[in-house]
């Protein structure tokens, strides 16, 4: 999961490495996701988050579709 400065640089990076495109998220959206996903990591009562709850976080942020499905 990498940072890139533009779509042009993304295309160049994918091509140079022979990677198939995955999903691109703007940094503000990634920040929202990071806050939701990791925001409870340091809670004293932390417990593993059920997959359905993790999927719900992605759904809430509009990260939907097969690429974002946590289960096969």
């Amino acid at each position: 999961m990498v940072f890139l400065r533009s779509e042009e640089h993304l295309a160049r990076w994918l091509g140079a490495n022979g990677f198939e495109p995955g999903a691109t998220v703007c940094a503000p959206k990634m920040n929202e996701l990071a806050l939701e996903w990791w925001g409870t990591r340091l809670d004293a009562g932390w417990r593993p988050r059920p997959v359905v709850e993790s999927q719900a976080i992605l759904d809430r942020l509009g990260l939907v579709g097969e690429f974002w499905s946590l289960q096969a």
């Binding site: 400065r5 998220v25 940094a27 920040n31 996903w37 990791w38 340091l42 932390w46 946590l70």
Partner: protein, 148 residues
């Protein structure tokens, strides 16, 4: 993951925040008054449960996500410390986990040009034009977490 595993995992994370690094199995053993082999087994169970990540074939902690303990291009200042993020998601996750402001110095994966992002009050206030790319579909993130 039993109650002891959760206690050890909490100790690991609290140690990371307090010391800027994860505890060794020996240090955790002292903290719990238990043997290093038992702690090592617990670290392995936490690794298998994706609650932390060990360096391959060791019981040394590589990631207590979103915190990373191996050099990467992603340097994060948050909560009064300098941290390393594993990837774009985890780099932004460090201020998120600490519930603090944060500044990220990183680089474009294509050209290595320096990129800066800042989070204030949970909001990205610098670097809004930066893109994040995820190559691996979500269902395969843990197949090879180092690559993901």
């Amino acid at each position: 993951m039993d109650a002891f595993d959760l206690d050890v995992r909490r100790h690991v994370y609290f140690s990371v925040v307090a010391n800027g690094r994860p505890p060794t199995t020996a240090e955790t053993g002292v903290a719990f008054g238990t043997g290093e082999p038992e702690v090592a087994d617990t670290y392995r169970r936490l690794h298998d449960a994706h609650a932390l990540v060990l360096f391959p074939n060791t019981v040394e902690i590589w990631m207590a996500n979103p915190f990373c303990f191996n050099p990467t291009p992603h340097r994060v200042r948050a909560g009064g410390r300098a941290w390393t993020g594993t990837c774009c998601w985890d780099s932004l996750g460090i201020p998120g986990a600490l519930h603090s402001d944060g500044d990220i110095e990183t680089e474009c994966a294509c050209c290595a040009e320096r990129l800066e992002l800042s989070v204030r009050g949970g909001v990205l206030v610098e670097g809004a034009d930066v893109l994040c790319h995820i190559l691996v579909p979500a269902r395969r993130w843990w197949d090879d977490i180092g690559f993901t």
